[in-house]
C-alpha cells in the first residue's frame, strides 16, 4: 500500500435529479402533463458543489454542518455507493460503513444469522465471519440473545450488533454516520473506546456528527459543510467556532 492519502476528494459536485422519470410515472410521461414536467422533471438538487479535500491515512475527521448540507452525501460518495456528477474521488483501503441501526439486518433471522449476513455483505468470506464470531458477539454484549430473532431486539440492541460486526471486518477506512447517538451510555462509551483503538491502530475514520463536544474532544480535524460547500477545514475547535458564529449570525 502506498503512503498517499486515504481519501482524495477533488472538485466534487453532486446533483440529484429529483424524480427524474422514476417518480414521474408512466401516466405523466405519456400524457406529458405540463405540471408533471414542470414540477418533477426539471428539479435538480445540488447536494455538493465543488468540494475538495484530502484525508490522510490514520486521520480522524469529522464532517459537521446543518441538516441538508451534504454530509451524508459525502459519506455515500466516499463509500462508493454514490457517484459524483463531476470531479473525482479516490479512496485507498477497505471501507467499512457503519450501518445505521443494523440496516442490513433481517428481522426474522436470529442475531447470529444476521452477523453472518452482514459480515459477507461487508466483504468477508463465511470462514472469516466464523473466525470472528465469538469476538463479535462478545463485543455486542448480547450474550444468549444472539440466537433470538432480531425482530425481538430493541433498537439499541440492533445498533450494538451492527456496530460490532462493522468493527470486526478489519476496516482501513471507517465511515460513521451519527450512529453513536443510539444505545445506552455504557455501550456508547465502548464504541468510543473501540473507535479510539482503531485510531491508535492507524485506521482512517470519517464521522458525520452533530455532537460537537465529541468532535472537539476526539477528532484530528473537522470539515464544515454548509449548503453543499466546504466552508472551513482545520482543527476542530476553530471549525466549530466558525460553525457556531455562522449559526448565531
Amino acid at each position: 500500500m502506498s503512503d498517499g492519502p486515504a481519501v482524495c476528494v477533488n472538485r466534487v459536485s453532486k446533483e440529484f435529479r429529483l424524480g427524474g422519470t422514476a417518480h414521474l410515472g408512466l401516466k405523466n410521461l405519456l400524457l406529458r402533463s405540463p405540471e408533471g414536467r414542470h414540477d418533477h422533471r426539471r428539479v435538480r438538487v445540488e447536494a455538493l458543489r465543488d468540494v475538495s479535500f484530502e484525508i490522510a491515512r490514520g486521520e480522524w475527521v469529522a464532517m459537521i454542518g446543518p441538516n441538508g448540507s451534504g454530509k451524508s452525501t459525502m459519506l455515500g460518495l466516499i463509500a462508493g455507493v454514490l457517484h459524483p456528477t463531476s470531479g473525482t474521488i479516490e479512496a485507498h483501503g477497505r471501507i467499512s460503513p457503519l450501518l445505521e441501526l443494523g440496516a442490513g439486518f433481517h428481522p426474522e433471522l436470529t442475531g447470529a444469522e444476521n452477523v453472518l449476513l452482514n459480515g459477507v455483505i461487508l466483504g468477508l468470506t463465511r470462514a472469516m465471519v466464523r473466525e470472528r464470531f465469538n469476538k463479535i458477539v462478545e463485543f455486542s454484549g448480547l450474550g444468549d440473545e444472539i440466537d433470538r430473532p432480531v425482530r425481538t431486539y430493541s433498537s439499541g440492541m440492533s445498533a450494538r450488533l451492527g456496530f460490532s460486526v462493522a468493527a470486526h471486518v478489519d476496516p482501513e477506512i471507517l465511515l460513521v454516520d451519527e450512529v453513536l447517538a443510539v444505545g445506552d451510555e455504557a455501550f456508547a462509551r465502548r464504541c468510543l473506546d473501540k473507535l479510539r483503538s482503531f485510531h491508535a491502530a492507524g485506521v482512517t475514520i470519517v464521522v458525520v456528527s452533530h455532537t460537537l463536544t465529541l468532535v472537539e474532544a476526539l477528532c484530528d480535524r473537522a470539515l464544515l459543510l454548509v449548503g453543499g460547500k466546504l466552508v472551513a477545514a482545520g482543527p476542530p475547535a476553530e471549525v466549530i467556532a466558525t460553525y457556531r458564529s455562522r449559526i448565531a449570525g
Partner: protein, 268 residues
C-alpha cells in the same frame, strides 16, 4: 496530492474475491430460503402448492371443460408449468430483489447484480424441489426417468437460467427508473404464458404460425423440458436456438445493468 484523476476502484480486491462473492450469494440465498417459510407449518409443501394449484385449475378448465385432446394432461401440464413458474416468479419478483434490499444498496458498495442472481437462484431451488412431483406423475402414468436426465436437465437449467436472469436484471434495473414497470411486467408475463405452449402443445398451433416459436425463447425451453421429461430426448436445433437466445438475453441484461448501476443508490 492525489495520485491521479482516474476514479479508482473503491474497495481493493479482497484476498479471495471469487470466494467472497460465492459466499455472499450463498448467504443471501440461505436467508431467502430460511425467511420464505419461516413461521409456516407446512414449509416446503408451499413451494409445490402453488404450481399444483395452477395445475388443478388448468386441468379443470382445459381438460374437463374445454377437452383439450392431450393424453395424460395432468402430467403434460406439470412438465411445462413447473419450469414456467420458475421463469414467471423470477421476472415478476425481480423488482423486489433490489427494492427489498434498499438499505444495503444505499450504504454498502457491493455488486448489486448478486441480489438479482440470488432471487433467480431462489426460484430455481423451488423449481428443482418440485421435480419429484413431476417424477411421481410420470411414474404413475407408466413412464420413468432416464439416465440421460443427468446431463439434459442441467443443460436446460443453464439455458433457462440465462433467459430468466437476463430478463430479471433488465426488469429490476428498468423498474428503478420507471416504477410502472412492476405492473406492466405482471401483465406481460401473463400474456407470455398464453403464447407459450405450456397449456397446449405446439402441434395444436396452426401450421402457418408455428414458426413463431423460434422468436419465443420460452417456447423453445418449455418444449425441450417436455421432451426431456417425457422421452429423455433433446432436439439439437431447438436447444441451439434456445441457447442462443439465452446468451443474447443474459448479455443484454448485463450490459444495461452495468450502464445504469451507478445510479441505483439514488433511486431505490
Amino acid at each position: 496530492m492525489c495520485a491521479g484523476d482516474e476514479l479508482k476502484a473503491r474497495n481493493p480486491e479482497p484476498t479471495h474475491p471469487l470466494q467472497q462473492r460465492v459466499d455472499l450469494v450463498l448467504v443471501l440465498l440461505g436467508k431467502e430460503l430460511k425467511v420464505r417459510y419461516k413461521g409456516t407449518v407446512l414449509g416446503y409443501a408451499w413451494s409445490v402448492a402453488y404450481p399444483l394449484a395452477f395445475t388443478l385449475v388448468f386441468y379443470f378448465v382445459f381438460r374437463l371443460i374445454a377437452r383439450v385432446p392431450i393424453e395424460n394432461y395432468a402430467l403434460f401440464l406439470v412438465m411445462g408449468l413447473f419450469p414456467w413458474q420458475w421463469f414467471q416468479n423470477s421476472i415478476n419478483g425481480a423488482n423486489g430483489f433490489l427494492l427489498a434490499n434498499a438499505p444495503l444498496i444505499k450504504k454498502v458498495s457491493f455488486p448489486r447484480s448478486l441480489l438479482v442472481l440470488t432471487g433467480v437462484l431462489n426460484d430455481l431451488v423451488h423449481f428443482v424441489a418440485s421435480i419429484p412431483v413431476i417424477v411421481a406423475l410420470l411414474l404413475w402414468s407408466g413412464g420413468r426417468p432416464t439416465a440421460a436426465w443427468l446431463w439434459q436437465v442441467p443443460i436446460l437449467i443453464v439455458i433457462q437460467f440465462g433467459v430468466t436472469y437476463g430478463l430479471s436484471l433488465l426488469v429490476a434495473t428498468a423498474n428503478l427508473f420507471l416504477r410502472d414497470l412492476e405492473r406492466l411486467v405482471g401483465i406481460v408475463t401473463m400474456l407470455w404464458l398464453y403464447v407459450t405452449p405450456v397449456l397446449y402443445s405446439w402441434d395444436m398451433v396452426p401450421a402457418s404460425i408455428r414458426w413463431t416459436r423460434w422468436l419465443n425463447p420460452m417456447a423453445l425451453v418449455i418444449g425441450s423440458w417436455r421432451e426431456v421429461f417425457a422421452e429423455g430426448h433433446l432436439t439439437p436445433e431447438v436447444v441451439a436456438a434456445a441457447a442462443g437466445w439465452s446468451i443474447l438475453i443474459a448479455v443484454a441484461g448485463q450490459l444495461v445493468y452495468r450502464r445504469l448501476e451507478w445510479r441505483f443508490a439514488e433511486l431505490v
